[in-house]
Symmetry: C2
């Protein structure tokens, strides 16, 4: 758990990079983390998910190709097909290590170790709620089962993780006791899980920092997103010394899901750009998200980090002006890192003359600054009346240009009427992609 902060500066930021791990965070793994993708386990618990055998294989290959470190699969005891899927994915020879996720019980463990997985993730509820209403066992029973399962799995020569469930509503002393016990007998990782999505970032930092002083094994974290904190909770856990983060493509999982792979990449590339860019194939993110979105029949959310249709669209005049001078003014992410493009939205009433000037240049027309300001006012007036398409704006600019460059019409400058615009296609108004359709 040593700090390996990216020392190379981002091309988006000053030197030294102000977003890299803070020197005081000597335990930080922000520049040295690993991903456990759980799209084929937690993601299978998403309401819309039904993955066929072939689809699971396709998703596993795509995850491996993106570069995730681990792929976690549904328990082989969930159903007969779940077991077959697990065995088949183990035989694919992927670079990513394959894990399966089971209850902390020997019945499950005996089946899991025969599937060919590289490791087993066991979990048991440790909150008062879960001890009372789910399995009905006390901490002594939990510790006893944990030791039995861990020693059995270790005897098979594969990795073993022990996780509590609903860790943030569990008794801290109970948690520290059980983690200390399993650490002593050589578990590879301990996991903490915000199963209900209640944790907040500073609380996460404190718990992980405390745990980090108690155990010597790696710490894995699993955060649900019910209250919108999953990504920053993951970030703060890494700051406090956690090493592995559970993610799903688009965050799909129980309820509204867990840490989304893409959103975490957005967070981490800001903090550790060289590490993230060298380790993960970021250009494959969009296709990976489309593959999973298609499989579970959802759209990419309009506001999705990185791949949402407007993630790199700049609209206000003041923003557009500065972005044209230097993209770093209003962008912390570079769209090109993800194979995406920047878009300046100039066809609206908030537009400014710098954005229009850029468009005039793109159209290869010649207008003075005074003329561009004049045509910008025309565009803003029209933008007050109705949504504008790029074609609308181009027509206004071209007509204006024709007027000011044709001697006989020069007296009419500033009196352009737009009688033909009503027939223009307005569907291209809204930027680089269509609205209300699958991206």
């Amino acid at each position: 758990m040593t700090k390996e902060a990216s020392s190379s500066p981002s091309n988006l930021a000053q030197k030294p990079n102000p977003y890299e791990p803070h020197p005081s965070d000597f335990v930080s793994n922000v520049g040295n983390f690993q991903l456990i993708d759980s799209t084929l386990r937690e993601g299978e618990q998403f309401a819309n998910a039904f993955f066929s055998h072939e689809k699971k294989i396709e998703i596993a290959k795509a995850l491996d190709s993106f570069g995730v470190d681990y792929i976690e699969l549904t328990s082989p005891v969930a159903s007969e097909q779940s077991r077959k899927d697990c065995e088949a994915i183990c035989k694919l020879g992927l670079k990513a290590k394959i894990l399966t996720h089971i209850r902390c019980h020997m019945d499950d463990a005996r089946v899991a170790v025969e599937t060919g997985v590289d490791g087993v993730d066991v979990v048991i509820g440790t909150s008062k709620f879960l001890m009372e209403h789910s399995h009905g066992k006390d901490m002594n029973y939990i510790a006893k089962s944990a030791v039995e399962v861990i020693e059995f799995v270790k005897s098979k020569g594969i990795e073993i993780r022990f996780s509590s469930e609903d860790s943030f509503r569990s008794n801290l002393v109970d948690l520290l006791n059980i983690y200390k016990t399993v650490d002593k007998i050589g578990v590879n990782r301990i996991g903490i899980a915000d199963t209900v999505g209640c944790a907040n970032p500073r609380q996460v930092y404190e718990l992980v920092r405390t745990l980090n002083n108690v155990v010597s094994c790696d710490i894995e974290c699993h955060f649900h997103d019910d209250t919108g904190c999953a990504i920053p909770n993951a970030y703060c856990a890494l700051e406090a010394g956690a090493k592995l983060i559970d993610v799903c493509v688009l965050g799909i999982g129980e309820r509204n899901g867990i840490v989304p792979l893409g959103g975490l990449m957005a967070r981490m590339i800001v903090a550790a750009p060289e590490y993230v860019k060298s380790k993960y194939k970021l250009h494959k993110l969009r296709d990976l998200e489309l593959l999973v979105a298609d499989a579970v029949e959802v759209n990419i959310p309009f506001n999705n980090p990185i791949t949402g249709f407007c993630a790199f669209t700049h609209k206000a005049g003041i923003h557009a002006k500065a972005i044209l001078a230097n993209p770093s003014t209003y962008e912390i992410l570079d769209p090109h890192d993800f194979g995406m493009k920047r878009y300046i939205h100039f066809a609206n009433r908030l537009t400014g003359w710098n954005a229009i000037k850029a468009r005039v240049d793109q159209l290869n027309l010649n207008l003075t600054d005074a003329e561009i300001k004049e045509v910008t006012n025309k565009i803003k007036e029209m933008g007050d009346i109705r949504p504008l398409s790029i074609d609308d704006v181009d027509s206004i600019i071209k007509k204006f240009h024709a007027d000011v460059t044709t001697p006989k019409l020069k007296s009419k400058r500033g009196e352009i009427t737009l009688t033909t615009e009503d027939d223009l296609d307005l569907t291209s108004t809204q930027g680089p992609d269509t609205k209300r359709s699958k991206h």
Copy 2:
């Protein structure tokens, strides 16, 4: 800025509520915050936004009815119609205070104070990037303009906020100097803005905590969501003593937007349930989101906090079992607080016999636990083969029930074939709402 933490316990948590502000956070405003809704300003900068005059009025009324404290509007100098919209909304007599958002310049201020607003929000870029590439002014110039504009607006008897832009990439000493200056001359609020979405929660906490020691006025925060941290950044800012948070319905704004109103409500109801429930009309959230989603032609994201179609859907067998015993086991939010419903997804291969038992009870059938376990296995087998609808499962249960309760068929128990299921409607498989359609 005194702490007014909710002292009443949540019905979802133990007493005392473990999610309320930590006693060490004596500066915390987690239980005493205000909302500045910027759907009609920041939201108008969203790529898809074109709000007609009538739509702006409708949205302003809906925001007021929800209970936001302030409504921020586009600058009256953006366009002629923007000025008219602003004047009209000021005349509605809403409970919410009306603000407009302008550049830190007397030309804008003179127009703004004549619109009838209750306050003016001024902003100027203070980062190296913006000073160089946007307005080209230095800190002395910024301070001079700020003082002139603030004293002018104050002389008109209305509220004035001064905000830096891109605060997290600005020089800390410059920031503290300018904030100290404007605080001294009686600004009502200072604002800090993560304009590019680069800030992380602990960084936010530290900056706000520092600022809180320097100024005596209220602190307002504006967080973009490019790296998925907007909601928790807002939360940590409140923990550190900020008082007001800028939000938009669905978070719409430049690029992928800012703190979403609904997501922040999810976060805050966990921390300060009585404050949030008494102050905001949470049952109106869904309609408010649908109104804005419709206006800007986007779908509610599938994973939206609270109103996403699966936000309260439980699927895995182990989750369903515990939820049936006590919803708090796997829910930190109570769907009924928002006029929503819980849904147990039992028609899939991950189902457990407790979920099926609950369904058998709903169908008013009588089966022993052993029989329920037997029919659960039938359902899991079928769930391995294809997605199941509720009708599928009900048919399996009913046929099984008929077999075990009809004497002549008793010997056939466990050998049910499902020849008729292929014709069943599968569209209702996926829970409480349709998929890939507008919610």
